[in-house]
Amino acid sequence: MTRMIARFRDGSSFDLTLVALALAYLFVFAALPMLYTVVMSVQKIDMFTLGTLARPFVGLRNYAHVLAMPVAWRVATNTAIFVVLSVVLQLVIGLVLAIYFRQDFPGASTLRGLFLAGWVMPALVVGAIWRWLLAGDFGVVNFLLGSLGLIKGHIFWISDPHVALYSLIIANVWLGIPFNMLLLSVGLAAIPADVYEAASLDGASAIQRFLFVTLPMMRATLGAVLSLSIIFTMQQYDLVAALTQGGPSNASNVAQYWSWQLSFETYDIAGGSVVAVVMILVVILVAILYVRSTRLEQQA
């Protein structure tokens, strides 16, 4: 009996079992729902036919229908702005903070830890709090800006269609900075000190050290953080739901929220699936980048 267990454990069957378990998990909890979404996106479907798979096949008609909606273009642009600005600002501010906390000053690591407080907050709560801060008539932000003499009158952060998307981005950047900072700190810590020492001895200035030592050696980390950040931003649904609900007049609507609206507000589940499938394609692209960059990291 024990010999059988030992043979099982040492033999190739154990490896196969491990692979099979992981694959089974992925299949049930990731591949199946994803495939089901793809299937729903090419069927005629409403919430009363959810229970059966045998629904009329309509090919790409749902895609044509969704992409022809007047709001589709707006949502696509908003999503692009939301993702690009959020990710770039999170990365830049996160990197600055990571370098800042790498300086040796009293309490540096404790303070860095405290920065994580923002990250552990649920996005729904963050959204609700920013909604108060950014309220047009009686918000704290307007009051502060007004007291400092920076603005006259009020900025309607949530209800002004020219501003709402940027309010969303501000809140999302705030939420994402700690995560970026932490991962980048790890990357910074992995750079051997003697490289900097050698660079200094060669007469490299601080800026040169950053450009020609830090950045190249962080390439893999930056790639990983960037792709994870893009994925997190694209799935940032709760914050939108709590802060602007995509409004006013879709001015801050982004794909992930629109997909939910289609599926669960107007029961256009096929339409919601179409948006989800398009997003999956984008995320897969980003995931490929991520896998590639982690591979580079291992080689480095």
Partner: protein
């Protein structure tokens, strides 16, 4: 051998039980499953307990479902067949379920009923459940919209607090007089939020202008939306009107930051506590002097699902609930949906006013595609108020969407 003995003994035991009648009592005992949007202390929960006390052979199992989830949950339940016997459905969504045959037609049972008399029902609430000669539910109560105003602010601004605005022009003029940017006071608070609440608030204006959900783009309708535009553009109402719910908007009225507010009777308990001034209620202003007054019909209905195993007992519960109509105002803040005598109503003057408004309250729809229609209306309102489109363009687009939806 011993095993066989045990088995046969068990069999004998089971048969004996069957004969003594204990299981038969179980068979006669009925459990009604009820879904409602109420919290534990509200309406359905305590009333179901009272009903159980009167009917020892019936257990009522009440489940709370979030208002925004109930349509989805009911639809999913009807796929799996695991539906409740009774559920709450919001007025405009009765048709969604009724048109698919998922609701029991109550008309035959009502005809036999000694407790429910449809001729006593007000036209608005009745229209919410009546489809041809079919009745798909019993309205459990109603609410509607009216204009709250701060009489103290009227006096301070030199307006007569006994003469609230009666036309749109008067509303505009009064709002303008009452607006005081220096003190951060807006003339009017209402809600144009992109949700069913926004539709609920806007539709009466379209209806007063002569239109409806399926007739949105007449010149009069455009004027209604332009009127809302003017209120926001001239900052007589806060730009946050676009993102605030009715409850949040009225909070600014209670705090003295708006001189008038459009909302419903559900605000009265909170207002009695929060509003430290003389507040009063008036009917919604009409488009012109003497033109039709229309208000919105809110609250929902209790329906029996077509797949219910116990329609008779479920209907008894509906009859019981309906018999509580004289106390729904004082107990739960609903307006009664039929002519009943209400003894000592809370806030008698406001009650009388809201009851008057209810007489011309119209149901949203009906249409089995209400969700799409409502969204088209919200989109038009938001597009016009943010000037992404003119009022005429926005309503023309909405009309197209509604036509496409209704004809699909």
């Amino acid at each position: 051998m011993s095993r066989l003995k045990c088995l046969s003994a068990g069999l004998v035991c089971a048969v004996a039980l069957g004969l003594t009648g204990a299981p038969r009592a179980d068979a006669a005992h009925i459990t009604l499953n009820v879904w409602t949007i109420d919290l534990e202390s509200q309406y359905m929960f305590p009333l179901a307990k009272q009903f159980e006390a009167l009917h020892p052979d019936i257990t009522v199992h009440v489940k709370h479902v979030q208002f925004q989830d109930i349509n989805n949950d009911l639809a999913r339940a009807s796929i799996t067949g695991d539906v409740p016997d009774i559920s709450y459905i919001d007025n405009p969504y009765i048709d969604l379920f009724g048109s698919r045959g998922l609701l029991l037609d109550l008309a035959p049972m009502i005809a036999q009923s000694k407790m429910i008399d449809l001729s006593k029902f007000y036209p608005g609430p009745l229209a919410a459940v009546k489809y041809g000669d079919k009745i798909y539910g019993i309205p459990r109560g109603a609410n509607t919209l009216a204009l709250y105003y701060n009489a103290d602010k009227f006096k301070a601004a030199g307006l007569d607090p006994n003469k609230p605005p009666r036309t749109w022009a008067e509303l505009y003029a009064d709002a303008k007089t009452l607006t005081d940017p220096a003190k951060h006071v807006y003339g009017l608070a209402f809600s144009a939020v992109a949700s069913e609440e926004g539709t609920f608030q806007f539709l009466p204006w379209i209806q007063m202008a002569g239109g409806d959900y399926n007739r949105l783009n007449t010149p009069n309708d455009v004027e209604a939306l332009q009127f809302w535009q003017k209120l926001i553009d001239e900052k007589l109402a806060s730009p946050d009107t676009l993102v605030r719910s009715q409850y949040d908007s009225t909070a600014t009225f209670n705090a003295g930051d708006a001189a008038m507010a459009i909302s419903g009777p559900w605000e009265l308990p909170r207002m009695a506590k929060d509003a430290k001034f003389d507040y009063r209620v008036a009917l919604l202003p009409t488009m012109t002097a003497g033109s039709a007054h229309v208000s919105a019909l809110g609250e929902g209905d209790n329906v029996i699902l077509a797949k219910s195993q116990h329609p008779k007992e479920a209907f008894e519960l509906l009859e019981f609930l309906n018999s509580k109509m004289p106390s729904v105002w004082n107990d739960w803040g609903f307006l009664p949906v039929e002519q009943v005598t209400v003894d000592h109503p809370n806030w008698p003057a406001d009650y009388a006013l809201f009851l008057q408004a209810l007489q011309t309250a119209r149901v949203r729809g009906p249409s089995p595609h209400w969700a799409d229609i409502s969204q088209a209306i919200q989109t038009a309102v938001q597009a016009a108020l943010t000037h992404q489109a003119t009022a005429a363009q926005a309503l023309a687009t909405a009309q197209q969407s509604v036509d496409a939806t209704v004809n699909q």
